[in-house]
Subunit: 511 residues, 2 copies
């Protein structure tokens, strides 16, 4: 059955997943009965267990859904410790439901799949050896990819039922009052994990830092925690933050960043009280820097910055150029450390950040979002999940969510090496073109034709070459030629949900 | 059927309330399926309605359960505004489920009952004209009195299903991000109301102060809020705080306070890292002052102070004598204002404070609690609900909850005017004697015989006359004589639950 973005969703997949096809970006105003956990009263019980093995055997059973967060990113030591124990104890048929999977988790997940420990996965994304193995059909059932906001929605509505959440924290007391802000392995906001803490039937904290009771501020509360286990180290502080803390010196990236800035400042949204999400990476930091200069020049102040937060964004807060910073995650040590002390930096959970099925998410109020892409097609559909070889190597993250912004800008080079970024048809549709407004490349920009208003605002800006998306695609094709079509089998190895839980695309096994 | 404290709970009441009789203070470790609200997704919808009438007619229907908080105490303007509109619109058969009812609410509730608007009430307590009317049988069904912790339990488990919560806040933005800390009518912690915010199907904020988006810190989050209505004033700042901000000069109260302090400092619990809850009122403030001196003299520091917080407790925090202050409510402006700025003052919700059916409440960790009483009997049972005339004139508050402390001290005069405080049998059992350790009066103390350990610690303390509870009761009887037994009809006008939801006593209609 073909959905709104012309992708064919096989009937057996629709049936198996009990889902509907994607019908458009407008969610409407449905009323949803939330679910709630079973809670075991544990008045006065000692929550601290002696070892990872003890907590695993106490909590995990065959067939369960277990979850993790990815706030430690590439510095995560928790996931491997727990999965090692789970594999060694021979559990079977588990569903893995982390907020995302980072590269340090790849090998052990592949092992768990090979041994029948894990048969189902839902995640924001995957890369490396795991993405490769899944693309080659290693997993029993299709992976379900969900955005950060959609994961919150799925947990709240019962689409994901977490039996046991294993959450690593850089501090807790002996009852489970914990935050992400203090300790050697601090990472700042616990945004994604707060949903697990609220909805998991059983919650296990893994920490290397037990503090005197009561530990505050308590982002995770003792009322939510069943067990605590202490380990030597929960994470590698050097790898928790993203590498990029300085803006890029790559001339192409700088050109794109400057053009993104030109689009923003010449749009109607660049005015006092506007809001933005920039993301991480060298180019995003460069955009933040250009934006800072423009805000000072035009005496414009932002109401809030949203999303994964970086140090340069916090600098804007400290300069008074941004009134509030809303952190669902922090991408570097500077942002994490500032959140601890700055009352104008608010930790927000994934539902508040981006869930379409609540009483209002922050992305609904977002003016400007700058997002990346692996591929963009001439319908403005964006792929952030599969490579040009058809292999899974990405993550939805907050892409679909932040694209709800009034001005959603995709910042991407026209080509990457011998691979076109702007293509006739993306390999996998993750974010529908209907929610994308402007594509910025190093040669110029393309505006979604449904945004004639933006067209009017931007068409006469000096130094802002305006193309049709088809023209940009042709430019790219001229540079790199037309690749051979990808070869897939008929077997679906992963499905991508839109943020409302409908199916926007499927990913098939590579030949 | 007689319960553990020998109170006869009529069979029809048990059946009607689908409850069990009180069987003891030990809650065990049951697993409870929590409930969850129905949530209407409201992406992008304007939440601000024009008037109280508009929001009432938009949300209230006959037979619903509606809730309020009592954080504005005697300065509350919200309850009357909403109830006026509800009465004037002629709604029927509502259940009123506020966190408590203060005196400013009495007359309008009586009117609502008389007009058939309200047929059921659950509350922490009631006083004045309302308590009098209920005691005389005005309400259709028995009131259910619940402690603050039990109310959280009842909401979480579905015993109370809130259709619409009307929560007054001293600030919010246009999406519903709100806290109790800023604004003219600031009251500090929103502790009791946070449960309503999480579980009500529909949440209405009433405010006199709409702030720029996003308003932080957000104790109540936009994800929880359906409607917002702006009024001129939500509360009278002069009446929000309790009157008592100075310690008493009454010699009898001072004597009791000093004796309470002697009990604490000579017990095993007075050591580094201890914790306490003192409550409000002049005598409690005096205890705090004596305790301060003792802590300085013996170089002892407390890990936390809990409960309704007062300025003198915050002073201990600022002096470094207390490491953390955990606020479920703030009794005066000093405590409320400090919470805004002091990172060591943590807002906690009623579940975290005292719910027995979660994964650990703060009262489970409490060393010392000082509580008051209207009556105490020779089995150490405490009445804080009905007067010696049988009329309802009190509130459970956190009494049953804080009595979980390792050392629970009841501070009370032997007699009040011509009325004995220590009696052969209390009019209404609210807190079972099994959870009470020491009674302190102006003539001396009585220790619960089950606490032989405390007896050993306190029996040789100079100036701490030790009596049996029977001896204290006889002393009281000698002063005031033996009153005539109260006359009640057979009709039950209210039931008192223990904190676990079982029935500990009933209150009958007065003759």
């Amino acid at each position: 059955m073909k959905n709104k973005v012309e992708r064919d969703i096989p009937d057996d997949i629709l049936k198996q997943s009990d889902s509907q096809i994607f019908r458009g970006v407008d969610y409407g105003q449905p009323t949803i009965q939330r679910v709630a956990p079973k809670v075991k009263a544990t008045t006065g019980q000692n929550k601290i267990l002696d070892s990872v093995d003890e907590v695993v055997t106490q909590t995990v059973r065959d067939g369960m859904t277990i979850s993790f967060h990815h706030h430690f990113r590439e510095g995560d030591y928790v996931f491997n410790k727990i999965m090692r124990s789970i594999i060694d104890h021979g559990y079977k048929n588990l569903t893995l439901a982390p907020s995302s999977l980072t590269n340090v988790m790849n090998d052990i997940v592949v092992e768990a799949i090979q041994k029948g420990v894990v048969t189902d996965i839902t995640s924001s994304g995957m890369r490396g050896s795991l993405g490769d193995a899944v693309s080659h059909g290693i997993l029993k059932n299709p992976v379900i990819f969900r955005s950060h906001g959609n994961r919150a929605r799925a947990i709240e509505s019962g689409d994901i039922k977490i039996d046991v959440a294993f959450l690593g924290v850089p501090n807790t007391d002996d009852m489970g009052n914990a935050n992400g802000m203090n300790g050697v392995a601090a990472f700042g906001s616990l945004g994604y994990a707060l949903i697990d803490a609220q909805y998991a039937h059983t919650l296990v904290l893994i920490t290397d830092n037990i503090k005197p009771y009561p530990n505050t501020p308590a982002s995770i509360k003792q009322t939510q925690v069943d067990y605590i286990v202490q380990v030597d180290e929960v994470g590698n502080p050097d790898k928790i933050g993203s590498g990029a803390t300085r803006f890029t010196k790559d001339p192409k990236e700088l050109k794109i960043a400057k053009t993104v800035n030109d689009v923003i400042v010449n749009s109607e949204y660049f005015k006092n009280g506007f809001s933005f999400q920039t993301g991480s990476g060298g180019a995003a930091l460069a955009v933040t820097r250009f934006l800072r200069t423009a805000m000072i020049e035009k005496n414009i102040k932002a109401a809030f910055a949203l999303g994964g937060i970086t140090k340069p964004t916090v600098d804007l807060l400290n300069e008074g150029l941004v009134a509030k910073v809303m952190d669902v995650q922090d991408f570097d040590k500077g942002a994490a450390e500032s959140m601890k002390d700055n009352p104008y930096q608010q930790e927000i959970d994934a539902s508040w950040y981006a869930d379409p099925a609540n009483k209002g998410a922050m992305v609904d109020k977002l003016d400007v979002a700058i997002l990346s892409a692996l591929e963009i097609d001439t319908k403005f559909n964006v792929n952030v999940m599969s490579g040009s070889d058809g292999i899974i190597r990405g993550a939805i993250g907050g892409h679909q969510d932040a694209a709800m912004a009034k001005l959603t800008i995709i910042s991407a080079p026209l080509v990457r090496g011998r691979i076109a970024t702007i293509v006739p048809e993306v390999t996998t549709v993750i974010t529908p073109g209907d929610s994308i407004d402007v594509i910025v490349t190093e040669v110029g920009i393309a505006i979604n034709p449904k945004r004639q208003d933006l067209m009017a605002q931007l068409k006469n800006v000096p130094g802002l070459p305006l193309y049709t998306i088809e023209a940009l695609q042709e430019k790219a094709a001229k540079i790199v030629g037309t690749p051979k079509p990808l070869q897939f089998t008929d077997r679906v190895v992963a499905v991508a949900e839109y943020r409302d839980g409908t199916l926007i695309d499927v990913i098939k096994q590579v030949k």
